[in-house]
C-alpha cells in the first residue's frame, strides 16, 4: 500500500462513515436549515444516548431535516450542555440531557452557564422511576423491615449507585433523611457495576431502572423493595412505591429532557415542540420506550419550564440535607 492509497483509504473511510451517518435525504424542511444536531452530553451506548438517537431519528423525519446525534460527554454533562448554551438559537442545535442537568446546580460550585436562563425548554421526553432492591440474604421483605433493620444495626448496610451526586445516589440520601436511618453510599462508576455488586453480595442495596434488574427479581437473585415514583410500575405492579411504604411525599424520577439554547424564537420553539409532541404520541414510539421502562413525558412549554425549576429546587434541598459538599 502506498502513501497515496493510505490517504485514499482514509478519505474513503471517512466519507463512507459520513454518508452512513447522514442517511438518506429527507423531505422539504419547515425550518431554515437541513441538518439538526442533537447533542447528547453522555457517552455513546448508554440509556441517554439511546433515547437521543431514537428522538433524533423520529424528530428528523417529522421535521424533514437530517437529525444526527453528537456525543459530547465530559464533566458530568457540563461540556455538552455548555456547547449547546453557546450555540446559535435557530433550532439547529439542541440538547437531550438527563437528571444530571437539574442536579448540577446543587452539586457544583460553579457552572459555565445558567441552568435556567441559558436554555429554552422544549419538552420532557421520557421519565423513569427506579427500583430499590436488595440482596436476598438481607433479612427484610419490605421497605419498612429494611429501615427497621438499618436502625437496629446502624453502620452495617450499604448501597451502590453509579456515582456521587447521581440521581440514584440522591434518591438514597432522600430516603435516608426522610426515614431517619443510616446506610453507607458506595460509588461504582456505572449502574450495571452497582447491580453486580449487590448480586455478588458485596453491597446490601441498590437503585436501578426496572428492565436492568427485573429478571433477577424473577430468578430470586435480587429482592425488590420499592419503586421511587409516585405510582406503581405497569410492568411490575407487585412492587409498592416508597410513598406507600410509609414515606408520604417521596418521589424521585430519572428524567430525559429536550432543550435548546436561550433566545430561540417562539415560532422555532413551537415548530420543534409540536414535532416532538407528534412523535411522542405515536403508539409505536410509546411502546418502544415503555419496553425500556420509560414513560413518555407529556410536559411542554411553560408547564415544562416550571417542572424544571421545581426539580432543581428539590435536588438542591436533598443535597443540602445530605450534607454533600459542592465541588
Amino acid at each position: 500500500m502506498t502513501i497515496r492509497s493510505i490517504h485514499a483509504f482514509s478519505v474513503a473511510l471517512i466519507a463512507s462513515f459520513a454518508g452512513l451517518i447522514a442517511g438518506p435525504t429527507r423531505a422539504e424542511s419547515s425550518l431554515p436549515f437541513n441538518e439538526m444536531v442533537i447533542v447528547s452530553p453522555y457517552d455513546a451506548g448508554g440509556a441517554a444516548d439511546m433515547i437521543a438517537r431514537k428522538v433524533a431519528d423520529e424528530l428528523g423525519k417529522n421535521l424533514g431535516v437530517t437529525a444526527i446525534v453528537e456525543n459530547r460527554p465530559g464533566a458530568g454533562t457540563i461540556i455538552g450542555s455548555n456547547h449547546v448554551a453557546q450555540a446559535k438559537p435557530d433550532g439547529s442545535v439542541l440538547l437531550l440531557t438527563a437528571t444530571n442537568h437539574v442536579i448540577n446546580p446543587a452539586t457544583r460550585k460553579s457552572l459555565p452557564y445558567d441552568t435556567i436562563a441559558d436554555f429554552t425548554p422544549i419538552g420532557l421526553v421520557v421519565s423513569a422511576a427506579n427500583v430499590l432492591f436488595i440482596n436476598p440474604s438481607i433479612p427484610a421483605n419490605t421497605l419498612q423491615e429494611f429501615i427497621a433493620l438499618a436502625k437496629e444495626k446502624p453502620g452495617t448496610l450499604t448501597f451502590a449507585t453509579n456515582s456521587v451526586g447521581s440521581g440514584n445516589h440522591l434518591s438514597g440520601e432522600l430516603l435516608k433523611s426522610m426515614a431517619g436511618f443510616d446506610m453507607t453510599h458506595v460509588s461504582y462508576g456505572g449502574g450495571a457495576q452497582g447491580v453486580a455488586a449487590v448480586l455478588g453480595n458485596h453491597v446490601s442495596a441498590g437503585f436501578a431502572s426496572l428492565p436492568n434488574v427485573q429478571s433477577y427479581f424473577q430468578d430470586g437473585q435480587l429482592k425488590a423493595l420499592a419503586v421511587t415514583g409516585s405510582e406503581r410500575l405497569e410492568a411490575a405492579p407487585e412492587i409498592p412505591t416508597v410513598a406507600e411504604s410509609g414515606l408520604d411525599g417521596y418521589e424521585t424520577l430519572s428524567i430525559f429532557v429536550l432543550l435548546g439554547p436561550a433566545g430561540m424564537s417562539e415560532e422555532t420553539e413551537k415548530t420543534i415542540e409540536n414535532a416532538l409532541k407528534e412523535v411522542m404520541s405515536n403508539d409505536e414510539i410509546k411502546q418502544f420506550f415503555s419496553s425500556q421502562g420509560l414513560v413518555v413525558g407529556d410536559l411542554y412549554g411553560a408547564e415544562f419550564a416550571q417542572y424544571i425549576e421545581a426539580e432543581i429546587k428539590k435536588w438542591s434541598s436533598v443535597v443540602e440535607n445530605a450534607g454533600i459538599e459542592k465541588q
Binding site: A44, D49, S215
Partner: protein, 502 residues
C-alpha cells in the same frame, strides 16, 4: 450442541456472513492504523446498527472489536507504534524482531497467536459462561485490590532498565491517573480549573502520546536505516521449528491470563496483554532476551488480548455489565432494539446469542485468512519514506484521539504526552510501566476505598476472604522471589568486584 447448530445456522446466512466480513475487515484496518481504535470505529458504526437487525448489528460491531486486536500488532511490530493500547506491549519485542529482519515471522506468529487466543476464548464463552459469571460476581472490591496489587508487582519488572526507574514510572502513571473527578467522593483533583480535565486523561491519549507521538518525534532526529527486506515471500514468513516450539506454551499461558482478565470489568485486553508479557518474562529461563526480539514476548500478549476480547463478551451479554466503553456501545446497539442484556438474553434471544457466538468463530477464521496474505502488503509499507509515512501517522493519531470525545483539548494532550515520552526516552525511562500504573492505579484506589467503606475500615477481610487472601499470598511470594534473585545478583557482582580489586 443444538444451540451451536442453531448459532451456525444464523451466522452462516449470507446476510450475517457479509456483516461479519465487513466487521472484521474494518476491524483489521482500524487496528493497523495507529491511534484509531475499535472505540472510534464502533461508535461511528453505531447509527448504522439502528437500521439493521440486532444480530447482524452485533455481529458487525463484534467483528470490528476483535478484528482490531488482530490488526493492532502490525504497526507495533513494523513501526514501533501500537495500533491500539492493548498492542503497546507487543512493541517491546515485535519491533526488535522486525529490526532483525524477522518482521514476516513476527506478523505471522502474532496472527496465529491471535487466532489461538481468540478461539480458546470463544470455547470458554460457550462452555464456561455460568462459571465465569459467578467468578466475576464473587470478585468484590477486596478481590480487585488484591488482584491488581499482584498485577502491579508482576508488571513492575516489565521494562528492561533499572527496576528503580520502572517503579518511578509506575508512580508517575498513577499520578497522571489521579487527574479528574474522584470516583469515590466526587471531588475533582488536579484539574487546574479546566473542565476538559474533569474526566481525566483518556487511556488512548496516554498510550498514543507515550508510544506513538514520541516514536515519531525521536525518528525525526535519528535517521533510521530503512529495512532492507521489504518483499516478503511466504517462505520468509515461516517461523523455524524452534520458534514454533517455544511459542506454544506462551500462547496458552497468554490465553489463560486473557481469559481471566477479559471478563473482569475495567481490566480488559490492555491489562491482560501487559500481565501476560510480565508472566512470560518471569517464567523465561533467560529473561534478558526480552526486549531484544523474544518471540514469546509477542505471542503471549497477542493471544492474551484476543482471548480477553472474546471472554469480555461474557459479562456484557450475560450480566449487562460492559467492561469497557467499546462494550457499552455494543450494549447500546442491543438496547436500541429493545433487547436488555442480562441472564435472560441467552434463553429469550437464543438465536441472537448463539448466532453472535458462532459468528466469532467465523470471524476469527476470516481474520486468519485475511491477515496472512496481507503480511506482505504491510511489510512493504516500510518502503514508504518516513518523511511521508510519519506525517500521515500523526494525522491518524489526531483523528483517533479527537474521535473519542470530540475534544480538541485531547489533541493538545496527546502532543504534550508525546513530548514527555520523548524526554523519557532520552533519560532512558520506559513508557510501559507508566501505562500499567496509569491503568491499575485508579482501579486499586477506587476498589480499596470501596472496600474500606464496605468493611467499615477493617483490613482483615483482605486476608480472610479466600480469593483475596490467596492473591495477596502469591503477591508476597513474588516479592520474595524478586528480592531473592536481586540480592543474589548484587552479592555476585560485589564478590566479583572485590575479587577484581584484589
Amino acid at each position: 450442541m443444538d444451540n451451536l447448530i442453531l448459532g451456525f445456522d444464523v451466522a452462516l446466512s449470507l446476510h450475517n456472513l457479509a456483516y461479519c466480513f465487513i466487521g472484521v475487515l474494518l476491524g483489521t484496518f482500524i487496528g493497523v492504523l495507529p491511534g484509531v481504535g475499535a472505540l472510534a470505529a464502533v461508535s461511528m458504526l453505531l447509527p448504522i446498527t439502528f437500521h439493521l437487525d440486532p444480530t447482524a448489528g452485533l455481529i458487525m460491531l463484534g467483528g470490528v472489536y476483535y478484528g482490531s486486536e488482530y490488526g493492532g500488532s502490525t504497526s507495533s511490530i513494523l513501526l514501533n507504534l501500537p495500533g491500539t493500547a492493548s498492542n503497546a506491549v507487543t512493541c517491546l519485542d515485535g519491533y526488535p524482531m522486525a529490526k532483525n529482519g524477522r518482521a514476516g515471522v513476527a506478523l505471522f506468529m502474532t496472527t496465529v497467536a491471535s487466532f489461538v487466543g481468540g478461539c480458546i476464548g470463544i470455547v470458554i464463552l460457550i462452555v464456561l459462561t455460568p462459571t465465569v459469571v459467578s467468578f466475576a460476581l464473587a470478585f468484590g472490591p477486596a478481590e480487585f485490590v488484591s488482584a491488581m496489587i499482584l498485577g502491579l508487582i508482576a508488571a513492575a519488572t516489565i521494562g528492561q532498565g533499572s527496576p528503580l526507574k520502572g517503579l518511578a514510572m509506575v508512580a508517575l502513571g498513577m499520578l497522571l491517573a489521579l487527574i479528574g473527578v474522584d470516583e469515590n467522593s466526587g471531588a475533582v483533583r488536579y484539574d487546574f480549573g479546566s473542565l476538559y480535565l474533569y474526566e481525566g486523561l483518556h487511556l488512548v491519549v496516554v498510550a498514543m502520546g507515550l508510544f506513538g507521538v514520541s516514536e515519531v518525534i525521536s525518528s525525526i532526529l535519528t535517521d533510521r536505516d530503512k529495512n532492507a527486506s521489504a518483499w516478503v515471500s511466504f517462505r520468509s514468513m515461516m517461523p523455524t521449528r524452534k520458534e514454533i516450539k517455544v511459542s506454544i506454551m506462551p500462547m496458552l499461558r497468554g490465553t489463560a491470563v486473557g481469559s481471566i482478565f477479559g471478563p473482569l470489568p475495567g481490566t480488559g485486553p490492555t491489562v491482560a496483554s501487559f500481565l501476560s508479557y510480565a508472566l512470560e518474562k518471569r517464567v523465561a529461563r533467560d529473561p534478558s532476551r526480552f526486549g531484544k526480539g523474544a518471540i514469546e514476548g509477542i505471542c503471549s500478549p497477542e493471544a492474551s488480548n484476543n482471548a480477553a476480547v472474546q471472554t469480555a463478551f461474557i459479562p456484557t451479554l450475560a450480566l449487562g455489565i460492559p467492561g469497557s466503553a467499546t462494550m457499552a456501545i455494543m450494549l447500546g446497539a442491543l438496547m436500541i432494539h429493545g433487547i436488555t442484556p442480562g441472564p435472560r438474553l441467552i434463553t429469550e434471544h437464543s438465536d441472537l446469542f448463539w448466532g453472535v457466538v458462532a459468528s466469532f468463530w467465523i470471524g476469527n477464521l476470516f481474520l486468519m485468512l485475511l491477515n496472512i496474505p496481507l503480511i506482505g502488503v504491510w511489510v512493504s509499507l516500510l518502503r514508504i519514506p518516513y518523511s511521508l509515512l510519519y506525517p500521515a501517522i500523526l494525522t491518524l493519531i489526531c483523528i483517533g484521539v479527537y474521535s473519542i470525545r470530540y475534544s480538541a483539548f485531547d489533541i493538545v494532550m496527546v502532543a504534550a504526552l508525546g513530548v514527555l515520552g520523548y524526554l523519557m526516552r532520552l533519560a532512558r525511562f520506559e513508557p510501559a510501566p507508566l501505562l500499567i500504573g496509569f491503568i491499575l492505579g485508579p482501579m486499586i484506589e477506587q476498589n480499596f476505598r470501596r472496600a474500606m467503606l464496605i468493611f467499615g475500615g477493617d483490613f482483615m477481610p483482605f486476608i480472610q476472604r479466600p480469593i483475596s487472601g490467596l492473591l495477596l499470598g502469591v503477591a508476597v511470594l513474588l516479592i520474595l522471589m524478586i528480592s531473592y534473585s536481586n540480592l543474589r545478583s548484587v552479592i555476585r557482582s560485589v564478590t566479583a568486584q572485590t575479587r577484581r580489586a584484589r
